[in-house]
Amino acid sequence: MGGGQDRHVIQMIANASLDVIEEVVRKDNAMYLKSVDKFNEWTVSAFITPGNMKFVLLHEGKNDEGIRAFFSDVWELYVKTTMNPFHTAHSGIRSTVFDTRVRASARKHL
């Protein structure tokens, strides 16, 4: 309810939307879940990789195709990251290359 300027509040919304995503995933086989949740005037879209890794995007406007493209870009980047034998599902991604590429993709599609 309080605008959500704080970074961690937005993170919290993203985190909270996992509740819905998890339920939807149980029934829906689609990888791209568009506008799966709306909360506090944010729209949440999600992308589920086959390895049950979830990408969550909070956005305001509608931009289905852009988001879908963005998600598939991120997926590709993520898959490349996981090819690193030292990367586990539990370790965070600290690669700057990953970061810049995701940003570039966001600029392009979002």
């Binding site: 309810m1 309080g2 509740d19 819905v20 339920e23 965070g92």
Partner: protein, 1344 residues
């Protein structure tokens, strides 16, 4: 808790208030009793008395119900503008509950009740419409309370009345009847044109005060309506007329909806102005207005009165009007009303709705549509520019509508479909609205169960969540704190029941924010910051709510902790959902101290040291934790602040940045200081994981080192047993040995001990430990706790000193650690035994096997929810059986202390020649207060261990092994006089001991170990003295230098014939002659050895013969540097008894018998043994000594390097049979005696051509009888004539010592040298072996 039921629009609210002195329990009891009456049948309500008020009265035959609801609090003042808009929101009646036992107090109760009602409701309020006060009679019922008539509104319920519930029901029905009658009054007012104007005046109109109304209205005369006809358009007039007659519409309404239909037709011809104009002229009275609002109010009243058909009709009318003339809010409310009507109808028509399931649309779809419409209308209405704003009410109405719709879905979902269960949940949710029976059982939150509900009801959780999500938005900020909290709580509860815990956590976080606002505002001065819209600001982030007033002393009016605790619990819950356990550091109440259940951690059993998979979003977690800390700071609750900080440090320190760690640590230490200042009874548990890495007992100084000995050691030992030989076990492998050697260190009572404790600090700040002490069990241990500061991210070793106060077993279990301001905590540290290691590795592998595997996702993979599912139970079971072993010390009674006062050695060094013996002296002083009565010296030198190693390897031959052992046992480097072993050395006294030191080649250093003890103690108890005693030991190292100067080699044993040597001319030396003086003709041999001097000084060597039956003889020679001297010494032959010479070669140590590797035949073995024993015997007889030429130093010359060979043995050993031969001749006549032939230089001198007798005397020298034969040989045989045989002359059986003579006549037929040999052989044995003796006779035949 106030709860917005779906059907709240149909709830007939009656406020319950306590009156007078009534205990809470009693009040609650009666409230509970009353609350069971949820519905009252319309037919039970007594019809009103006055006709004009009977408009809402039910007919006796009507079938509906009144749905009662009994709040305990009136709505807030801010909601009063809604009094006409939503009558169901307000208590229509008030019931006071009082108890009374005395008649005279009734009047005061009545007065109090009236005062309370006046107090609760504003003066100009419409409600309550009726009051009543129930006075429950107390006591035994003897006093008969008589009310009389003078106190209206007071009802006495006698205590002796049987069925109170029925009575209450009747009373309630009466009250309802009154209220329904009042509805008519209200409506009458509104129906007047002026009233209608008021109604349309503002968005949330209120009923005009009677004083504001024109007189005729106050008179409540039907004629008054006609007095203001100009205000109303035609339809209203007809309407008003209808109302005026009053009975006509009533009857119409009761029967059917025809009446309103007529009116509505009329009203559609609306001539009203635009609503906007209305809004502007809100104060203007008399403007013509639509009747939409009026119809809606009618609908509201009818729905409250339980007459759903009427309500439905009026709502429909109202909506129709609103459609033409938009009035969003009222329109929406009417839609809500319609939705409620639908539910009520479903409920009352009961339970047979299954039929409607067959239709394509869901049965609730219609209701839902209406609500959706209502919601969107509310949403549209919000930005309306109303001068009165009423944003709060609009937001409230909007959110309530959203909640209404979501509760419709939720109830349907949780009740497994649109059925009776759902209806009753919607209508009368009860006390736990969001815990329907389908979700109440323990497994309910499992996703499968929730999914099942979805598939049964056809509503997915996401759907409910989407609807519910609409309720949450920035508009909530318009609400007052109280409403906001209530609404957020409801949202949270619904999310929780849906299993959406993360969303629930989000909402709860806002609830906390709201509460904290109230808490902080309440604390500030009145008129302070009006913090509307600042719900989520936390002092931790912005300093907006300052901790600033540090100077000000906050005084808490009430010391109730429940509130704070609940907030803290909420915070913890939120954090838990995000994967942080804020309870990982516990708060412990220090007042209720229980040492028994003190938590203790096994060092490496601790799961912390094994890396677990991280859970959660670190960045988010840190943000949340900061908020949590801010909440705790705002409360303020110092122990909780500390708990939060420290828990975060403990569980998140891997992801916390350095700054954060510093921040948390400083906040926590500040909070703990505060807590102490405030006298908090709670304190944080020790938090920082296992700080102890290891505990070791520092070895005592060698002076104080203790050794445990069996008492049997005190018994006298055989003298040859010394410490030089390894104290070998009879077994090669002794499993018990390793057990005893482990663990127990011996320490002494009352003497300081030092433990080295290694600590670890994984954090970036210096970790302070206020107290660190050893946790011991067993004998009391006196040790002072120390405070330590462990440097950041490092290992730190400290030493803890202490003293055991009694003798016994001291077990060091671990450490007791206390952080500043915390509670001390014990950490156990088991010994790393094999089992412990096995257990640890098992555990590690179990965890590493599971780490990195993600079987569960989402909330199920939180560490604590995972723990129950995954760690295999087998490992746990083995854990239980495991008994850890700890570091143990055996504390023994006080021990004396001795020290070396003086030594005669300079620099502790000895220089010796090989074989030299010297002695030195040590002076010992008893520096303790105990006497010393036991002293034993053991020695070590550098030759011992290689020898022992060689022995242990077992590769030596039997012979070499014996030699090595002999060296070890009989020729130790150091020795001392054992006579000094038992003595008594009083405290403070000195004693000197003499140690003999012998030079042994290869020895470079040695050690003297002086073990001493106070053994014969006075027994203080009658207990059996233990079978061990303890000694302390002083060691004194000695440097030894041994010069190797004389080498013996080439030992030989040669035959010796006295005659031969005497005949030699060169052997005329005196010494040699004297040596030979004792030598008899035979039975002697010559011992010879070469001695070489490899040193730079001349030495004089002496060999001595000490042989039984011979005088002592010796030979001395000077060996110049670099030269070799041969020593000759006659030695008498000897014979060892057979059984003696064939004994096995002994082992001097009690080594385990090892099967001989060399497989010798029995003959070879016999020969070897004989060699051994004869050599031993020889070395007993011949001793060598040396002396420094021109000096005083002397020593032994060892012969043990020399080997005895078989020919030497033959020489040394006496023959078995001795043969003596002699020649005899007759010098005179026939018959004269036979005389021995003349002999010179050992040779006979017979004459040729004379008849001689050769007499051979054979003596059996062996110890048994022998069968012997004799062979004679004569050389040159061609010049000798003899009679009879020369070979195999039988001698017969000779007993031991018996002599047999054989005579053989012979004649030398030439001059010259002859040699007659004789061989004695045993009969029946092979030729070579049978030879047991021989003799030689030399004759020099000359014709003179």
């Amino acid at each position: 808790m106030e709860y917005h039921a779906f059907a709240s629009l149909a709830h007939f609210r009656i406020l319950l208030v306590p009156v007078g002195p009534i205990s809470r329990a009693t009040f609650d009891q009666w409230v509970a009793e009353i609350r069971t009456l949820e519905n009252i049948r319309l037919s039970d309500i007594p019809p009103g008395t006055k006709d004009d008020k009977a408009r809402f009265m039910p007919s006796p035959k009507s079938k509906g119900h009144l749905h009662l609801s009994f709040p305990s609090h009136p709505p807030p003042i801010s909601h009063w503008p809604m009094s006409l808009f939503r009558p169901s929101h307000f208590p229509l009646g008030v019931i006071g509950i009082a108890t009374c036992s005395q008649t005279d107090s009734l009047s005061s109760i009545s007065a109090e009740f009236n005062a309370a009602v006046n107090d609760l409701f504003p003066n100009d309020s419409l409600y309550p419409l009726a009051n009543n006060c129930f006075v429950f009679e107390e006591g035994d019922g003897t006093t008969n309370l008589n009310l009389g008539d003078h106190l209206p509104g007071l009802v006495i319920i006698p205590s002796m009345m049987g069925n109170k519930k029925e009575n209450i029901e009747t009373l309630l029905a009466d009250l309802c009847s009154n209220i329904l009658a009042e509805f008519s009054t209200v409506l009458n007012t509104l129906e007047s044109p002026l009233g209608n104007e008021y109604l349309n005046g503002t968005l949330f109109p209120s009923l005009p005060l009677p004083s504001d109304l024109p007189l005729p209205l106050v008179d409540d005369e039907p004629e008054s309506m006609s007095a203001i006809p100009s205000y109303n358009s035609q339809p209203e007039l007809t309407m008003a007329g209808g109302l005026r007659t009053n009975t006509v519409p009533l009857t119409l309404k009761r029967n059917s909806s025809t009446g309103p239909a007529l009116v509505s037709q009329a009203s559609r011809r609306s001539t009203l102005g635009v609503p906007a104009a209305n809004k502007k002229r809100h104060s203007g009275i008399g403007a013509s207005s639509s009747h939409g609002r009026l119809f809606k109010v009618l609908g509201d009243f009818f729905i409250l009165a339980g007459r759903t058909e009427d309500a439905s009709v009026w709502y429909t009318e109202a909506i129709a009007l609103f459609k033409t003339m938009p009035d969003n809010v009222w329109h929406a409310s009417a839609l809500e009303g319609l939705a409620t009507v639908a539910l009520l109808e479903s409920w009352s028509s009961g339970q047979g709705l299954q039929a409607s399931m067959s239709t394509s649309r869901e049965p609730w779809a219609d209701t839902s549509d209406k609500l959706e419409q209502a919601i969107s209308l509310y949403a549209k209405s919000s930005p309306k520019a109303d001068p009165d704003h009423h944003y709060d009410l609009l937001s409230y109405l909007y959110t309530v509508a959203v909640l209404r719709q979501s509760s419709l879905y939720f109830a349907t979902w949780s009740a497994k479909g649109w059925g009776p269960l759902a209806f009753s949940a919607l209508l009368h949710p009860g006390l736990t609205p969001y815990m329907p029976p389908t979700l109440a059982h323990s497994e309910s939150n499992h996703p499968i169960n929730l999914d099942r509900l979805s598939s049964i009801s056809g509503i997915s959780r996401a759907q409910i969540s989407t609807i519910l999500g609409q309720a949450h938005g920035p508009w909530l900020l318009h609400l007052g704190h109280r409403e906001r909290i209530v609404i957020l709580e409801m949202i949270a509860a619904m999310y929780s029941s849906l299993g959406y815990h993360r969303k629930e956590a989000y909402i709860l976080r806002e609830v906390i924010g709201c509460i904290m606002d109230l808490v902080v505002c309440g604390r500030e001065e009145p008129g302070g910051v009006n913090n509307v819209g600042l719900a989520i600001t936390f002092p931790g982030h912005s300093e907006s709510i300052p901790l600033a007033d540090k100077g000000a002393v906050g005084v808490k009016a009430t010391e109730r902790q429940d509130g704070n605790d609940s907030i803290v619990n909420l915070v913890k819950y939120v954090c838990k959902v995000h994967g942080m356990n804020l309870d990982s550091v516990k708060l412990i109440n220090t007042t209720a101290k229980s040492t028994d259940d003190e938590a203790s951690i096994l060092l490496r059993g601790d799961p912390e040291d094994v890396a677990e998979d991280p859970y959660g979003w670190p960045e988010l977690q840190i943000g949340i934790i900061r908020e949590a800390i801010a909440v705790a700071e705002a409360l303020p609750d110092p122990p909780t602040i500390a708990q939060f900080c420290l828990s975060a440090l403990k569980s998140l320190h891997a992801v916390l940045t350095e700054e954060d760690q510093y921040y948390m640590y400083s906040v926590s230490s500040r909070a703990l200081t505060d807590a102490r200042r405030r006298g908090e009874t709670r304190s944080v548990d020790y938090w920082s994981g296992q700080p102890i890495v290891s505990i070791e007992l520092l070895p005592l100084s060698t002076l104080r080192l203790l050794v445990e000995n069996p008492v049997t050691m005190l018994a006298a030992k055989r003298p040859e047993e010394t410490g030089a030989l390894p104290r070998l076990d009879p077994f090669l492998y002794n499993p018990r040995k390793s057990l005893t050697s482990q663990g127990r260190t011996l320490v002494v009572k009352d003497e300081p001990l030092e433990f080295a404790v290694t600590l670890r600090n994984p954090f970036v700040f210096d970790l302070e430990l206020q107290k660190l002490s050893l946790s011991t069990s067993g004998v009391p241990f006196d040790s002072k706790p120390i405070s330590v500061s462990i440097p950041a991210q490092s290992y730190h070793a400290i030493v803890i000193e202490g003293k055991p106060l009694e003798s016994g077993i001291l077990t060091v279990r671990g450490c007791r650690v206390q952080a500043p301001g915390g509670v001390s905590r014990e950490f156990l540290l088991p010994l790393s035994t094999t089992e412990e290691e096995a257990r640890m590795s098992q555990r590690r592998s179990a965890i590493s096997c599971e780490s990195g595997r993600s079987k569960y996702a989402g909330l199920e993979s939180r560490p604590w929810s995972k723990a129950g599912k995954r760690i295999s139970t087998v490992a746990e079971a083995s854990l239980k059986n495991f008994i850890p072993r700890f570091l143990e010390c055996k504390v023994v009674a006080e021990q004396p202390l001795l020290r070396i006062r003086w030594s005669s050695l300079t620099h502790g060094a000895v220089m010796l020649y090989d074989g030299e013996k010297s002695s030195f002296r040590l002076t010992l002083e008893n520096v303790s207060s105990l006497p010393i009565d036991f002293l034993r010296l053991t020695f070590d030198d550098s030759t011992i261990s290689p020898a022992q190693q060689a022995l242990a390897d077992g590769d030596l031959s039997v012979y070499d092994a014996y030699e090595t052992e002999y060296e070890l046992i009989n020729r130790p480097v150091f020795s001392w006089d054992r006579a000094q072993e038992t003595f008594e050395l009083a405290p403070g006294k000195k004693i000197g001991i003499v140690i003999t030191c012998m030079g042994k080649v290869g020895c470079s250093s040695g050690g003297i170990f002086i073990a001493y003890s106070h053994v014969h103690r006075r027994q203080t108890t009658l207990t059996q003295p233990s079978d061990v005693f303890h000694t302390r030991q002083i060691s004194y190292p000695v440097l030894v230098t041994v010069y190797h100067m004389l080498e013996c080699h080439g030992m030989d044993v040669l035959p010796l014939h006295r005659d031969d040597y005497c005949a030699n001319d060169h052997s005329d030396e005196q010494s040699w002659k004297s040596l030979l003086r004792d030598v008899e003709d035979d039975g002697w041999c010559l011992f010879s050895i070469d001695v070489r001097n490899t040193y730079g000084l001349p030495f004089e060597i002496t060999f001595e013969r000490i042989q039984e039956g011979t005088p002592i003889a010796s030979t001395t020679s000077l060996v110049a540097p670099g030269s070799t001297t041969r020593i000759l010494l006659p030695v008498k032959k000897f014979l060892l008894p057979e059984e003696f010479a064939t004994r096995a070669i002994p082992t001097l140590s009690n080594r385990q018998f090892v099967v001989d590797k060399a497989s010798l035949t029995s003959a070879e073995q016999k020969a070897q043994r004989e060699l051994f024993w004869y050599r031993e015997e020889l070395f007993k007889s011949v001793r060598g000594r040396w002396r420094e030429a021109g000096g005083i130093r002397s020593g032994e010359l060892s012969l043990r390097q020399q080997r005895l060979s078989l020919p030497m043995l033959e020489m040394l050993r006496t023959e078995t049979a001795k043969v003596r031969m002699s020649l005899h001749q007759r010098t005179g006549e026939e018959g004269s005696t036979w005389d021995a032939v003349f002999r010179k230089d050992g040779k006979y001198r017979p004459k040729p051509y004379e008849y001689l007798y050769l007499r051979a005397q054979v003596t059996n020298l062996s110890n048994g009888p022998l069968l012997l034969s004799l062979d004679l040989t004569m050389e040159p045989s061609e010049h000798v004539i003899q009679e009879g045989f020369l070979s195999d002359i039988p001698l017969g059986r000779l007993d031991s010592g018996e002599t047999q003579e054989i005579e053989t006549p012979l004649c030398f037929v030439s001059c010259g040298r002859f040699e007659v040999g004789a061989e004695v052989r045993i009969l029946g044995v092979r030729h070579e072996e049978g030879k047991v003796g021989m003799g030689v006779l030399r004759a020099d035949v000359r014709d003179e």
